[in-house]
Symmetry: C2
Subunit: 345 residues, 2 copies
């Protein structure tokens, strides 16, 4: 912001009008003649006037900005979500301010403060793995700034969530593995403090039980689901006296790194000796060979839905603060990595 910028007062002086008239004209208020409005707009153009939204925002007490806090912008699921968010925000006249928590609690708190101080009109967030306290989110609802969670949420905060049915999706993956003939199914689980991982775990467990398989806790590897965790998880599973014949990983990243580890550092092949399934349907899942069975979860759809909901709450079209759940469809995508002997003869 530089000095010497043209303001509505400059236009006013130029046309011998009052700045309030200029303001009205530029905002297309009906309370000014079409003719003078045109004159004003013309003069504005000629003088190179650029509205100062900071001033307008201060005055109107609205920032026309929504804040986003998510773990990693560069993860495919999240960047797709951002793409979706940005798309609807843009269409509805909102700016988007982005922050990454890097899955760290401290950073999430700082981000939340920054967004609050910038008076964002609403917040979209997917919570960090490390987060166990939620006051930094509650501050928004307390000031009646709407907040909408997507994917990762915490029920403690009274707010709408946009999610997929993680339990059901995980159940389906597991059931699919069972139907393909796999008996000892391991699970790479994320931090159970996060709803999505807890639910995926429960879905997995329930499917086992429903099919008469006894869940074996030694087959559950809880980690942060990073690429390296997939490798460590697979090493762990291979070290077991009675190793599993399938792995259901709570994300694609760990699934893929585990699969590649297996292919490069063991004689076992996928899916014959070890079936593998992931979660998210990242682009890599369809490209890798064998193709990775996974759950399609459109980040873009989720982002769009969350942004739409948030903006509706901002506009007061919907009651804010109800902990409603919006469920986006997900879909089991079966590829070769999970097939049993019966299927790939």
């Amino acid at each position: 912001m530089k000095k010497g910028q043209v303001t509505i007062h400059d236009i006013a002086r130029h046309l011998n009008l009052d700045s309030s008239t200029i303001s009205r004209a530029l905002n297309d208020s009906p309370r000014v003649t079409v003719k003078t409005r045109e004159r004003i707009k013309e003069a504005a153009r000629a003088l190179g006037y650029r509205p100062n939204l900071i001033a307008a925002n201060l005055r109107t007490r609205r920032s026309k900005t929504i804040g986003v806090i998510l773990p990693w912008v560069s993860r495919h699921f999240f960047s797709s979500a951002v793409a979706g968010i940005e798309q609807v925000a843009y269409k509805e006249g909102y700016n988007v301010m982005i922050c990454q928590s890097h899955d760290e609690y401290e950073r999430e708190v700082t981000n939340a403060t920054a967004l609050f101080n910038n008076r964002v009109e609403g917040v979209l967030t997917s919570v960090a793995m490390d987060t166990l306290k939620f006051d930094h989110f509650k501050q928004f609802t307390e000031e009646s700034t709407p907040i909408v969670f997507f994917d990762r949420y915490n029920p403690e905060v009274q707010a709408c969530r946009v999610v997929i049915d993680d339990f059901e999706a995980a159940y389906q993956v597991t059931e699919h593995l069972i139907r393909e003939g796999h008996q000892r199914i391991a699970h790479f689980c994320g931090p159970r403090t996060l709803n999505i991982y807890e639910k995926r775990f429960s879905g997995y467990e329930k499917a086992l039980k429903d099919h008469g398989l006894e869940p074996d806790p030694t087959l559950v590897f809880e980690c942060r689901l990073l690429a390296n965790d997939g490798i460590e998880g697979m090493k762990y599973l291979l070290s077991l006296p009675h190793r599993p014949d399938a792995v259901f990983s709570a994300n694609d990243l760990a699934a893929i790194s585990a699969m590649r580890y297996l292919q490069q550092h063991s004689d076992l092949s996928v899916p014959e000796d070890m079936a593998i399934a992931g979660f998210s349907n990242s682009p890599s899942a369809s490209i890798i060979s064998p193709g990775l069975t996974t759950v399609d979860q459109s980040g873009e759809e989720i982002g769009k839905a969350a942004a739409k909901r948030l903006i509706a709450e901002i506009r007061g079209e919907i009651d804010r603060g109800t902990d409603e759940v919006i469920t986006i469809n997900s879909q089991l995508i079966v590829r070769e990595s999970s097939l049993g002997r019966a299927s790939h003869l």
Copy 2:
């Protein structure tokens, strides 16, 4: 932004001080006793004071925000760049406002206007494929708001660019293909109006000539390098009477889709019958089989460098408006997709 928010005046009234003292204390000005400062900070906490940065920004004429315009947030290269940008911006106390152009000129112009009107202190951008005019960028430099391009730039705008050496990288890829014994090398080229594609094309052409191969224009397929373009490009190449034995695609996306098309819809195999190389080293490149030979180009590094430079310009630590070029290292990554008979016996 709600009414009833606590302001510095409320604190002032509460402590029988003047708001200016409150302001100074909260900004850690040395011009206020340590003791009263503590008292003030304590009261601020107690009253639940939250600074209103919009007001502060209006007053100081600085928004503490940098704007980013790029084609697609969800493309891996760009989302990595955003991650890098956000990281340094956050560290330096700047917010990041994100816009997508969807590779469309009109949208880029609108985005630029929005950022301008929000008085961002600087702009980072990678230009849209459709963009042929650059006034919307020049408006920033004219108002002495620094702008830094990354990856895709246009020399018409007097501004710093953060790039890799696209010519050299493309040259190396092509030379590598030649050394592997390939003779008829096709090229999937992006819009030549964009510097990066023009340079990659030139590098490709130069390498051919330097090795005594005559560039054949019928082997150059110019397109937008989307997944479908890779398929169309490959169809086109297969339809030629004298088909090529290698393809160098100016991005990974088209390279990978072309390769998969070949694998699924022809008898030709990669790299024996058709070698393939891409550009960018997207995550898929290392995961696909055969692994895709490509050029590693770290979006995160580029984003970080661009953001650092921009912030330095904002702070006046560096002259703005010099069209300096910052070159980030890139690296040829050889994988199986490009190997010649000699290499994979």
